[in-house]
């Protein structure tokens, strides 16, 4: 269990650093860097992809790559649904609903 005050301090530190990162180049942008190049680089560097990839994969690593789980089955079904619906938000709702349904049926 964590101390709530320490957690709050951590959130503030992360919030301040995030604000700092967002405003860093808004306030002062080095003339040496070409703005259009940075813009194109931003569109190409898959930083969000990195986030999107690491976290689901960590899900498997943290359980010592245990694939024989109800959650994995549900995620496989959701992957097919996402392919057709193309909406991550709705697909997540379906995933959670399916998991609850299967857990209820198996009990």
């Amino acid at each position: 269990m964590y101390d709530h005050f320490e957690l709050l301090i951590m959130f503030f530190l992360l919030g301040i650093s995030t604000f700092g990162m967002r405003s860093l180049f808004l306030v002062h942008f080095p003339q040496k860097l070409n703005n259009e190049q940075i813009r194109k680089g931003l569109e190409s560097v898959p930083s969000s992809l990195l986030v999107a990839l690491v976290i689901p994969y960590t899900f498997f690593i943290e359980t010592d790559v245990d694939f024989i789980r109800l959650e994995v089955f549900v995620l496989l079904v959701v992957m097919v649904i996402i392919k057709f619906l193309k909406t991550p938000g709705l697909s997540l709702v379906i995933a959670l609903s399916l998991l609850l349904l299967f857990e209820g049926l198996l009990k």
Binding site: L14, L49, F59, G89
Partner: protein, 227 residues
């Protein structure tokens, strides 16, 4: 703006529910949404808290995840010049979605010529902020009142949240598929020696290095708008 908002609301509700199932009080869960206001790192914090990782390690992982925001400011610097103190508010509201909206506004031929991008970021970002924070609180109460989500592990919810984006990225960006496969191999290899937040930390760091190898900033061809 409208296509983005429902996803933000759904993820906000899911975040609130996940916050409740992580045994955090409402004030802490909601504080993340208005203090940090960055969905990826907020979800990451919940998963790392459930693993009982050290607070300092969680902070560093959060900063690492949010590093991409530096580039958002760089990309919008030209449009924000001479905008005075409005830049401060815009900087606070500059999330992935707000940046996306600004990109669409710049490319849209329906937008008036005198539209200021900073106003798009503040207006759109403000609406997103409101939606995100309200839906976080609603999600928390849903988790609290219904109790049905208690058995669902936090890592499943987070994995499900980002799996959708990952699959869409795979479908829409063929040139990034090689990068995806490399990251999978990297994570798998590192998992034999690292666990928890350290696995995440090193995978992210090395992944960013690989991203620069495959997608160097100074050698960019035309790119496809995928988000």
């Amino acid at each position: 703006m409208l296509p983005i908002l429902p996803s933000v609301i759904i993820f906000g509700i899911i975040f609130g529910i996940t916050g409740f199932t992580s045994d955090l009080p409402l004030y802490l869960v909601s504080s993340m949404s208005y203090i940090i206001f960055a969905g990826s790192s907020q979800f990451l914090i919940l998963i790392l808290l459930s693993d009982n990782d050290p607070i300092i390690a969680i902070l560093i992982a959060g900063i690492l995840i949010n590093l991409r925001h530096v580039f958002y400011g760089a990309a919008l610097n030209k449009e924000f010049q001479g905008m005075g103190k409005k830049k401060i508010l815009a900087a606070y509201l500059l999330t992935d979605e707000a940046y996306l909206i600004s990109t669409f506004a710049k490319k849209s031929d329906k937008a008036p010529n005198d539209v200021k991008i900073i106003d798009v970021v503040i207006g759109g970002g403000g609406l997103l902020w409101l939606s995100w924070n309200i839906s976080t609180i609603i999600g928390y109460f849903i988790g609290q009142r219904t109790n049905v989500f208690e058995g669902i592990p936090t890592d499943f919810i987070v994995a499900g949240t980002f799996l959708g984006y990952l699959i869409l990225q795979w479908e829409q960006s063929p040139r990034e598929r090689r990068f995806i496969l490399i990251i999978i191999l990297l994570s798998f290899s590192l998992s034999f020696v690292l666990k928890g937040v350290y696995l995440l930390f090193f995978t992210l760091t090395l992944g960013m290095i690989f991203a620069q190898i495959f997608f160097p900033i100074y050698n960019i061809d035309s790119v496809t708008e995928t988000d």
